[in-house]
Amino acid sequence: MLEIRDLNSGYGHLQVLWDVSLEISEGEFVALLGPNGAGKTTLLRTITGIVQPWAGEIEFIGRRIGGLPTPQITKAGISFITEDLNLFGGMSVRENLVLGAYAGWDRKRVRKSLDYVLDLFPVLGERKNQLAGTLSGGERKMLAVGRGLMSDPRLLLVDEPSLGLAPMLVLAVFQALRELKGKGVTILLVEQNVNMSLQIAGRAYILEQGRVVLEGESADLLENEHVKEAYLGLGVEEA
């Protein structure tokens, strides 16, 4: 479904991604892991056209989308839930959600998507008329995911949903992602919380200093020495 080949990109003169290749099939839940500054967010930004690719190819459902403007990539069926969420704080929860369906505006479909999202996150229904800016941290994440789902995307990119949340809420957000996976939504999850991500993702890529250093099934990665040592705190020398 999404195929990235030898992608290079960065900001200004600073190259961040080096020959990154990645592949996601329909219905998969893939995690993109790695330390701070590895280029995970940059990769998502390049896929969605916020950052321009320098070289390499991005193909989505047989169509080259590398370098297209962001709105067109959204219309092609990719929803990006950013780290800072980019919610419309001065608008109501309902308005935020309805706007999520902007790309494919059709009253009947908006209503259907709205019911679907409110069913998935009942708490958003309770807060329907509240301004998005007044929601709690967890609710804001739910709203961002909900808004991302309103366009009925083929692929959902989620950047660090656990960031800045209390452990209880992190659990709730991951629960929601697991549910989405159950409903057949294709997801690429970017996370620093390696253990939890490997629990719900089927496959994962590990990005370090802008390069893919490891990839494979989550179960295998959980057993991998490098992963254990660098990310799971199970290093031998420390023990």
Binding site: P69, P71, N86, G90, Y102, S151
Partner: protein, 299 residues
Amino acid sequence: MQVASVWNLFVTGILRGGLYALMAVGLALILGVINVNSFMHGELYMIGAYMGWLAHVVMGFDPIISFVFAALVSFIVGVVMEKVFFYPLRRRSKEEWLFDAYLVTVGLSFILQNLALAVFQPVFRGVPAYWEGSIRLSPTMSISIDRMASFLIAVIAIGAFWLFLRRTRMGMAIRAVAEDARGAMLIGIELDGVYALSFGLSSMLAGVAGAGLLSLIPASPSMGSVPLAKSWYVVILAGLGNVQGAIIGGFVVGMLEAVAYYVLGAGWQDVVSVFILILILLVKPSGLFGTEVKGVLER
């Protein structure tokens, strides 16, 4: 204070308020959506006034059709100016274009004023009245139909604009861009379209104000400077880029000026309004309805 003078005070205040609100809403829209400090807003008001005159006096159209004509021309002027001047500017430089854009608005203001001087001559172009007669409410209280009509036009224009922003897909897209441009792009909103539309609508509101008030204020090349200053005053008072606040702020300022005029005498109304503006900014630097203020040092 007599009933009649209170009534006059009220009518004057509300009428001024309607004009200020109409002008300030357009200015707040451009500020909120595109972040451009526009100093040519008064010239769009002037264009609206001339278009109203052209349609009503020269071409002999009905007042209502003249307003629609003025609104349409101002809208087109706004869109064309965005496409011709601001779009290339935005394209060329990513972040620093706002100051350039501000200077362009100042330049355009001079050009438009002198263009109007060349085309329409240094003569006042007005109409004695769109509609004759007045409504007598009591022996001492009356209001001319003409003034009533210009007030109604302001209210209808603001109301329609308000509904557009709240209820329609395009209106919601405009608000979304004002709230978070990146978030708007991520849900599929094309910024170029929203910017052009916002410029057009802002110009249209100013144009309607100019045409609607033609019988009270005749068209002349430099007629825009006072409304420009007032709308900036309202926008600063209400909080930069806050459309809702600009509506309320417009009426507050209108009433304030009318009262100051009555109590202290002619010439004092500007002193009082600026004094109150300073007081409000001392207590609440983001303006009455503003939510956040970015200090000069924080950037």
